[in-house]
């Protein structure tokens, strides 16, 4: 009878220990999860900063592109760097297309 009581006591102790262990593990799991979330938040924050930097560079690129596309810039490059000249109006021929695309011949009619 004493033996049985001792056995029951040990069982109860084990159960108690198990519960304690489970509680501690849960506690650690929650802390680990919290830490992981914070870590992800840091990573996202860093990615956010990188994104802001890229957006900033994009804005600069758009502004530069707009500057390069300005007629003033194009004319300057064409005249000064590429040695082109503005065409005389007499030298410009306008072609009126009257039919669908295909092999064409020009006529003076």
């Amino acid at each position: 009878m004493t033996k049985r009581r001792t056995k029951n006591g040990k069982k109860k102790m084990l159960v108690k220990f198990g519960f304690l262990l489970y509680f501690v593990l849960c506690l650690f799991a929650i802390i680990w999860l919290k830490a992981a979330v914070v870590n992800i938040k840091y990573e996202l924050g860093e990615l956010d900063r990188m994104k802001a930097e890229l957006v900033r560079e994009r804005k600069m690129a758009v502004a530069q592109r707009a500057n390069f596309y300005s007629t003033e810039k194009i004319e300057k490059v064409a005249l000064d760097r590429l040695g082109m000249t503005l065409p005389m109006r007499e030298n410009v021929y306008y072609v009126k297309r009257t039919m669908a695309a295909g092999p064409y011949k020009a006529s003076l009619k």
Partner: protein, 602 residues
Amino acid sequence: MRYGLLKGRKKKSEERMLWDEDLKKSSLENSRKRAIVITTVISFGFAVILFRLVNLMIFDHAKLSGQASQQYIREKTLTPQRGVIWDRNLKEMATNIETDSLYAVPSNVRDTARLSSQIAPIIKVSSGEINSLLLKKKGKSFTWVARRMDLEDSRKLSALKSSFKDGEIGFVTEPKRYYPMKQVASHILGFANIDDKGIAGLELVYNDYLKGEVKSVPVDRDARGKSLVSDVKEAVPGNNIILTIDEGLQYIVERELTSAMQERKAKAAVAIMMNPATGEILALANRPTYDPNYPSVADGEEKRNRAITDIYEPGSTMKSILASAAVEEKAVSLNDIFDVSKGTITVGGKTIHDVHRHGVLNFQEVIKKSSNVGAVKVGMRLGAAKYYEYIRRFGFGDKTGIDFPGEAKGILRNVKNWSGTSLACLSIGQEIGMTPLQMLTAYSVIANGGVLMKPYIVSEIISPDGKSIKRNSPAEVRRVISKSTAATLRNILKTVVEEGGTAQRANVNGNLVAGKTGTAQIFDTKTGHYSKNRFVSSFVGFAPADDPRVALIVVVYEPVGETYGGLVAAPVFKNIIENTFAYLNVPMEKEENRVYLVSRSP
């Protein structure tokens, strides 16, 4: 006896057992009491803790959570992106870039002289200036050192940042308005200030549409103040604007105006180009000008939009308005003869001269040769009341209603207040003040067949997600003259540019031009007389004359040397129109071989 002894011992042993049991009982009783006391104490302790917890978590929750939030949550203001301004071909005329602004924490700076000398050469400010700023703000936790630096400067400073102590300086990224075309269209666009608020031009008029919505969002931060990711990412950006302006045409106009200014050494110049059929402003330029990226270095003269805000006396360009009224009212016919051989006419005690002696002219020649005497005679046939009515109908004395700030309505006295000389003076474009835009709008009436159109610069406002918020479309103000009168006037104005006319230098090779020159003396308010050496030279017209694509006015203020509109403004008109037609692919109409018909081979 032995039995009796045993019995006695047994009794004693029983008594001892009973006594032991009593002792055990009393000990257990004591233990139980102690346990009760301890349990009560512990329970009380827990109850106190529980009470405190309830107090903290329920009753003081709001207060404490607020205090905690203050420690780890920071309010971050998200500055919205200002709307983009595009030309009619969706070329960016005003956009946004992000720049770094440098701040210092004076309370953390120990050696202000060292810090100043390191920063000064990069931000191009004297080290003494920075040093005195830091000393002045000593003890404060924030002061701006340089706002919206160039990208290059901020990169140099970022590289240097490690050589400063922690918390001495820092950077804040701020949006900055950027005008990629620089001086081109500066008077149209205006500019925004350092806080992204529109100050002039369209930036001012459409500020409410462009500015976007500022948002303040909570951002978590750790013990070091480092930000964690926040839930709300972006502020609501501003709406975008599409203009009627064509950047290519705008550049052509600006380029030709610059060259005219240099050639004529003029005080100022204005040119406006409009689609006469719709009222769309295609280009608008003023000289002197400025770069809206650096508005603070420009003076008031450079920022002045004379095209819309300044009034001038038009001179002979007014004769087309007089002629339109006279033809419409049938006060004259094309073959009516006017004897201007004297070269002068005296009206109300004022003598008006012709620049050249002409002899006898018909009505068409009066306009072609810009005879002042002939114009006065036409005016007298029409009469003051009718002329005033038509002046008003052409839009003079009223704002055009353009979507632009600071428009002047001009000066036009009521006919009741006209003096004996007023009709004669108004016939030759004196005693009246108008903006170049008003004059161009009036000539567009002749160009488009007789309808006064409301000019406009903004074509459409679209939301950041591409939805149309506001769309401006061509608006007729009123019919001013009949189609036939307009056609007659177009034919008359064509002759002005032909041989014998006052504006032969406006003749465009390959296309017919219609227009009128103007040379007006500037009224000197000091002497109370018209100046003999200060003039406003102008030319206003449209082309191709029979099917106008553009109407254009060129006004040159106080040119040096040549002063006649036909010599100063007409060549500028010609250059602009020729380049415009090349840009718009308008074929030459005079030579048949300019247009080739292409057909498919059999």
